[in-house]
C-alpha cells in the first residue's frame, strides 16, 4: 500500500477547495490570491510523489472511483488514468501554473476583480487536469469543453473592449468546429466498440478505419490551432498576459495534441492518418512562421511561435513518435511561458505598450528580463543543450532519418530557420538599438513577485530538458547513428536563420518600408486567411440561406404560388371579359354566327 492513489486524488481535491471557498467571505479580501497560489504550490509538491514513483519503479495506475450509470451495455464511471503521459504532465502543468499565478499577482495587481481572475485560472487548471487524467472519452470531453469555456471567459476578461469579445467568440467558434470531430469519434467508438473507455477501445480496434481518427485529428486541429482553424490563437492575445502564458502557450493548446498522443496505439497502425498529420503539421508550422515574421505586436509574434511549435508537434505525431511529442510539450511549456512572462514585464513597464516598433534599448534598463528573454529565445530555437534542444533537435533528427514525406521535411526545416529569424526580430526590436518609447517611464523590475516566477522558469528553461529527458523512461529505441550532415541539419538551418536575421535587421534601422512587396502583404495580413474566411464564407452562406428561406420558400412558394396567382388570373380575366369596347362589328358578327348556328341546329333534329 503506497501513496500513489492517495497523493493523486489529494492533488486533484486540493485544487477544488479554493473554488468552493468562493461563496464565503474569504473570497472578498486580498489573502485569497496568496491562498490560491499556495494551494497550487502544494498541489505541485504533492504531484511530485506519483511522478517520482513512476520514474523509479515504472508504476502506472488506473483509478476507477465511482460507477455513475449503466445505459444498456455502456458503463460510465469516474476513472483516472495515471500513466506515463498524465503523470509527467501534471507536475509540469502545476509548476507553470504556480509561477504564472505568482506573476499575475504582480501583473493584475490593480484589477478590482483579481480574486475572480484567480478563481477562473484555478477552474481552468482543474479542467485541464481532468482532461489529462481522463480514462474515458466522456470525462475527457468534460475537461475539453471546460478548458474551452474558461478560455472564452479569460480572453474576454476586459469585456469592455470589442476586440476582446470578438476574439473570445472566435475562439469558441473554432473550437466548436473541432468538437464536431470529437463527437464524431465518440459516436463511432460508441457504435463500434460499445464503450468510451480507452482500455477497451485499444483492445477492440487494433486497426480502426480512418473515420474516427479523422474526427480526432479535426478535434486536435480545432483545439491546437492547426492550419485552417488557426486564426483564433493570435486573436486570443486580447486576454491578459497571464492568460496567454497559461492557456495559449503551455496548457490549453496542447490539449488537442495530447488527445492524439492518448490515441497513439490506434494511429500507429494507420498510415493515412499519419501522413495527414504530417502534412497538416508541416503546413501549419511553415505558414504560421511566415506570418510571425512581420507582426508588430510582441504577443502576436509569440502566439504565432506557439502555433508553429504546435505544428511541429503534429508533425512529430505524423512520424509516429508520440513520446517525443510529449517531451516537446513539456519542454516547450517552460520556455514559452517564460517568454510570455518576459513580454508581460516589458509591456507593464512601458505603460501597456505592445508594439515592438515603440520599444527598444531595454538591454541596459531591464537586465533580468533581457536575460530571460534571450535565453527563452535561444531555448525556442533549439540552442544546443538548453531545454529546447533535447526535444526539438531530436524531432528534426528523427524527421531527417525516417522514411517520410520530403515536402513535409523541407517545410519543417524552413520553419525551423524562420524560428530563428523571428526570435532575432523580437530581441532586436525590444532590447537592442536606441529607445523608442517616451522618456518619462517608470521602469523597475524589483518586485519579487515578478522576478521569482521568471527566475524559476529560467532555471526550468535551462535544465528541464536535461532533467526530463534523463528521467523519462525510454519507450522506443533511439536512433544512434546517422550521417554527420543529417545530425547537424537543425543546427545549420538555425544558424543560417540567425545570420540572415541579423543581416536584415541592420538594414531596417528606419521602421517604415519604402516599397511594400506582395510577400510583405501576404505575411502581414496573415496569409489573407482571416480576410477571406471571416467575410466571404459567412456572406455566401447567409445570402444562400436568405435566398432559399426567404425568397424561395416564403415569398415565392407560400405567397405567390397560389394566392397571388389566383388573384392575378381573376383580375386579368375580368378585365378581358367585362369591358365595353364599342366593338360593334364584332358583336354583330357573333350575333350572326349564333343565329346561323341555332337555325342549323333546330332544323336538323336528328
Amino acid at each position: 500500500m503506497n501513496l500513489f492513489t492517495s497523493s493523486t486524488l489529494l492533488t486533484l481535491l486540493m485544487l477544488i477547495t479554493p473554488v468552493m471557498m468562493s461563496s464565503t467571505d474569504f473570497y472578498k479580501n486580498n489573502k485569497y490570491q496568496h491562498y490560491v497560489k499556495n494551494m497550487t504550490l502544494l498541489a505541485f509538491i504533492t504531484s511530485l510523489v506519483p511522478m517520482t514513483m513512476f520514474i523509479h519503479t515504472n508504476q502506472e495506475m488506473l483509478i476507477s472511483n465511482w460507477h455513475w450509470t449503466t445505459i444498456h451495455t455502456l458503463k460510465l464511471t469516474l476513472s483516472f488514468k495515471m500513466d506515463y503521459f498524465s503523470l509527467m504532465f501534471m507536475p509540469v502543468a502545476l509548476f507553470i501554473t504556480w509561477s504564472i499565478m505568482e506573476f499575475s499577482m504582480w501583473y493584475m495587481h490593480s484589477d478590482p476583480h483579481i480574486n475572480q481572475f484567480f478563481k477562473y485560472l484555478l477552474i481552468f487548471l482543474i479542467t485541464m487536469l481532468i482532461l489529462v487524467t481522463a480514462n474515458n472519452l466522456f470525462q475527457l470531453f468534460i475537461g475539453w469543453e471546460g478548458v474551452g469555456i474558461m478560455s472564452f471567459l479569460l480572453i474576454s476578461w476586459w469585456f469592455g473592449r470589442t476586440d476582446a469579445n470578438t476574439a473570445a467568440l472566435q475562439a469558441i467558434l473554432y473550437n466548436r468546429i473541432g468538437d464536431i470531430g470529437f463527437l464524431l469519434s465518440m459516436a463511432w467508438f460508441l457504435h463500434n466498440t460499445n464503450t468510451w473507455s480507452l482500455q477497451q477501445i485499444f483492445m477492440l480496434s487494433q486497426n480502426p478505419p480512418t473515420l474516427p481518427l479523422l474526427g480526432l485529428t479535426l478535434a486536435a486541429a480545432g483545439k491546437s490551432a492547426q492550419f485552417g482553424l488557426h486564426p483564433w490563437l493570435p486573436s486570443a492575445m486580447e486576454g491578459p498576459t497571464p492568460v496567454s502564458a497559461l492557456l495559449h502557450s503551455s496548457t490549453m493548446v496542447v490539449a488537442g495534441i495530447f488527445l492524439l498522443i492518448r490515441f497513439h496505439p490506434l494511429t500507429e497502425n494507420n498510415k493515412l492518418i499519419q501522413t495527414m498529420m504530417l502534412s497538416l503539421g508541416a503546413l501549419t508550422t511553415l505558414f504560421t512562421a511566415i506570418c510571425a515574421l512581420t507582426q508588430n505586436d510582441i504577443k502576436k509574434i509569440i502566439a504565432f511561435s506557439t502555433s508553429s511549435q504546435l505544428g511541429l508537434m503534429m508533425t512529430t505525431l505524423g512520424l509516429n513518435q508520440p513520446h517525443l511529442t510529449f517531451l516537446h510539450i513539456c519542454t516547450h511549456a517552460f520556455f514559452k511561458a517564460m517568454l510570455f512572462l518576459c513580454s508581460g514585464s516589458i509591456i507593464h513597464n512601458l505603460n501597456n505598450e505592445q508594439d515592438i516598433r515603440k520599444m527598444g534599448g531595454l538591454y541596459k534598463i531591464l537586465p533580468f528580463t533581457t536575460t530571460a528573454l534571450i535565453i527563452g529565445c535561444f531555448a525556442l530555437t533549439g540552442m544546443p543543450f538548453l531545454t529546447g534542444f533535447y526535444s526539438k533537435d531530436l524531432i528534426i533528427e528523427t524527421a531527417t532519418s525516417s522514411y517520410t514525406n520530403a515536402w513535409a521535411l523541407l517545410l519543417t526545416l524552413t520553419a525551423t530557420s524562420m524560428t530563428a529569424i523571428y526570435s532575432t526580430r523580437i530581441i532586436f526590436f525590444t532590447l537592442l538599438e536606441q529607445p523608442r518609447f517616451p522618456p518619462l517611464m517608470n521602469i523597475n523590475e524589483t518586485d519579487p513577485m515578478l522576478i521569482n516566477p521568471i527566475k524559476r522558469l529560467l532555471i526550468g528553461s535551462i535544465f528541464a530538458g536535461f532533467i526530463l529527458s534523463n528521467s523519462m523512461p525510454p519507450m522506443n529505441t533511439p536512433l544512434m547513428t546517422m550521417p554527420l550532415h543529417l545530425k547537424l541539419t537543425a543546427l545549420t538551418v538555425t544558424t543560417l536563420g540567425f545570420v540572415l536575421a541579423f543581416e536584415i535587421n541592420t538594414y531596417s534601422k528606419n521602421l517604415k518600408y519604402p516599397y511594400s512587396s506582395d510577400s510583405i502583404k501576404f505575411s502581414t495580413l496573415l496569409g489573407y486567411f482571416p480576410t477571406i474566411m471571416h467575410r466571404l464564407s459567412p456572406h455566401l452562406v447567409l445570402t444562400m440561406s436568405q435566398k432559399l428561406a426567404t425568397s424561395l420558400l416564403d415569398l415565392t412558394w407560400m405567397e405567390t404560388a397560389l394566392p397571388k396567382t389566383t388573384a392575378l388570373i381573376q383580375l386579368k380575366a375580368s378585365t378581358l371579359t367585362s369591358n365595353q369596347k364599342g366593338l360593334i362589328k364584332l358583336y354583330f358578327l357573333s350575333f350572326l354566327i349564333t343565329m346561323t348556328l341555332s337555325m342549323l341546329l333546330f332544323n336538323y333534329p336528328e
Binding site: 365595353q580 369596347k581 364599342g582 362589328k585 354583330f588 358578327l589 350575333f591 350572326l592 343565329m595
Partner: protein, 98 residues
C-alpha cells in the same frame, strides 16, 4: 315552303347578314335595316293574302309606319354622327371603350 317564301326569306337573310357584317359605313347598316323591313313587309303581305287572314290585314301597314319612323331616327343619328366626325365610319363610335 313554297318558292316565293324561300325567295323572300333569303332576301331577309341576306339583308340581315349585310346588317351584321358591315364594314366601315353606318349608312350601309341602315340601308340593310331598310332592306330587312322591306322583305318583312312583302313576306307578311304575301302570307296574309294567301291565307286569307283578314283580321291581320292591318299588320303590314302598321309595320311600315313604324319602319318609316325608325328610318327617320336612324337617319337623324347618322346626321349627328356625320356632324361630329365628318364621316360615318363606325370605328369612330368608341366612346364607351375602356
Amino acid at each position: 315552303m313554297s318558292l316565293v317564301h324561300i325567295n323572300i326569306l333569303i332576301a331577309f337573310a341576306v339583308s340581315l347578314t349585310g346588317l351584321l357584317m358591315h364594314r366601315s359605313h353606318l349608312m350601309s347598316a341602315l340601308l340593310c335595316l331598310e332592306g330587312m323591313m322591306l322583305s318583312l313587309f312583302i313576306l307578311a303581305t304575301l302570307t296574309i293574302l294567301s291565307t286569307h287572314f283578314t283580321l291581320a290585314n292591318m299588320m303590314p301597314i302598321i309595320l311600315l309606319v313604324f319602319a318609316a319612323c325608325e328610318a327617320a331616327i336612324g337617319l337623324a343619328l347618322l346626321v349627328m354622327v356625320s356632324n361630329t366626325y365628318g364621316t360615318d365610319y363606325v370605328q369612330n363610335l368608341n366612346l364607351l371603350q375602356c
